[in-house]
Symmetry: C2
Subunit: 257 residues, 2 copies
């Protein structure tokens, strides 16, 4: 089962290297992850690891080997060539992208991310939404690629736990409204204090681009736009922090002490 | 008032280049900032800009020139040499570090950051704490340097709005307790649900290192340790997101809709 790769000229290495770009990831429908924690989460929650790579003499947990169908031992040079982090742990994996169907359901909560650009922000949004028990994260075209390595790292593995899908924002908002699911847009203007809306078991929260916020067409269609008061001199909060505060408030019915 | 610098061999350029390291920043008690938004905040709130640098033919707001004592026009090559961002806006400044005295006061709230490593996280913590009206951010030895360029950028200018000081954590906790200011540690274990403590006008919230949390010696001395419930499969929240949720909850008396 395990083989050895010594050269960066190896055709498989060339193929995996392509996963560093969105184009390559879309071509193979795969993405590259690094480090024990992320691989552990990938194996535990989805068994979506197609290939495991380890530098020779790296400790690989025995339980992983039982669940992995393909494994290669590689030289430090090959790992360094494929790695996108400064100090590689010597272990990496190629995962297949999942295919999710979206059916918005009553009694569920959703986060819709509109064109967020920063990979750390998008990954932290996914991590936060999963932690608070949101059913799915939806995102619009123009959002940074969800399988970008920095996004995946910032999710801390949450990317393997629940559906994350690109959607048409307006279609989603209308679909929620047909089902009576309230849609809240996080906005600085033409919005009410966030505590004016009631915590609930079902909602869709929308957060937007770091500089420009949510697209005006979407904002116009929400049930209500809400803002977080600022007591200091800052103009706004980081988008992932704002989403965390709003999600924990909206879900507070489920969080009773 | 304005002069021209064409070479990276210029002694001033060599001096400014040293501000990229903590050692250099401590030597000159200065730090380097880039981009119109940060410089605007520096001038507006503290007038701490010692030197303004702009690439020739860059638009410099006239009102800045009235408040700046030293300005240099530089070539694109010089700016690129000094810049730490991929696409420089062609404008930068050298700021002097402020000196703050710390006197913990009743009726005030504080955030104590214990050995947070990631510059983006520390900067976002500062931005969030300032936005919710905390009086000062305190941090322990082992925290990433507050004048690191990535920290400063992530604060979005909040670094210029209020005191940020390195402290001895235990001394701070004891000082709060002598004054009757409750101290809350954010922790996953041996902690109560965060909604079990009451929102208040005075408190010190402690958040800790991304991997290891708050130092055990500090945790042992708090008034109460508190946790944020996790409804999903994630193990924890990003430290800046967790701090945002806790600060907005603790300050909710001041946020009434």
């Amino acid at each position: 089962m395990d083989k050895r790769i010594e050269s960066i000229q190896n055709p498989k290495v060339k193929e995996w290297k392509k996963l560093q770009t969105k184009k390559g990831r879309m071509q193979y429908r795969q993405f590259f992850i690094e480090g024990e924690h992320l691989i552990e989460e990938a194996i535990k929650h989805q068994s979506r690891v197609d290939v495991l790579l380890a530098v020779e003499n790296t400790d690989v947990p025995v339980k992983w080997l039982e669940q992995i169908t393909q494994m290669y031992w590689v030289t430090p040079v090959v790992m360094k060539y494929l790695s996108q982090i400064e100090t590689s742990q010597g272990i990496a994996a190629i995962c297949s992208m999942p295919v999710y169907d979206l059916e918005l359901k009553n009694g569920c909560s959703y986060l819709l991310v509109d064109r967020v650009q920063d990979p750390g922000n998008f990954g932290t949004l996914i991590r936060t939404a999963e932690a608070i028990g949101v059913q799915a994260v939806l995102y619009t075209k123009g959002t940074v690629d969800v399988y970008n390595d920095k996004v995946v790292r910032a999710t801390q593995g949450a990317i393997f736990h629940f559906p994350i899908l690109e959607v048409d924002g307006l279609v989603c908002v209308h679909s929620c409204q047909e089902k009576g699911i309230p849609v809240y847009g996080s906005a600085l203007q033409n919005a009410v204090h966030y505590q004016e809306v009631a915590p609930s078991n079902e909602f869709m929260l929308i957060v937007g681009n770091e500089g420009g916020g949510i697209d005006q067409h979407l904002l116009n269609q929400t049930t209500q736009n809400i803002y977080l008061p600022i007591l200091g001199q800052s103009e706004s909060l980081n988008v992932a922090v704002a989403a965390g505060i709003l999600l924990y408030y909206l879900k507070s019915n489920k969080l009773k002490a």
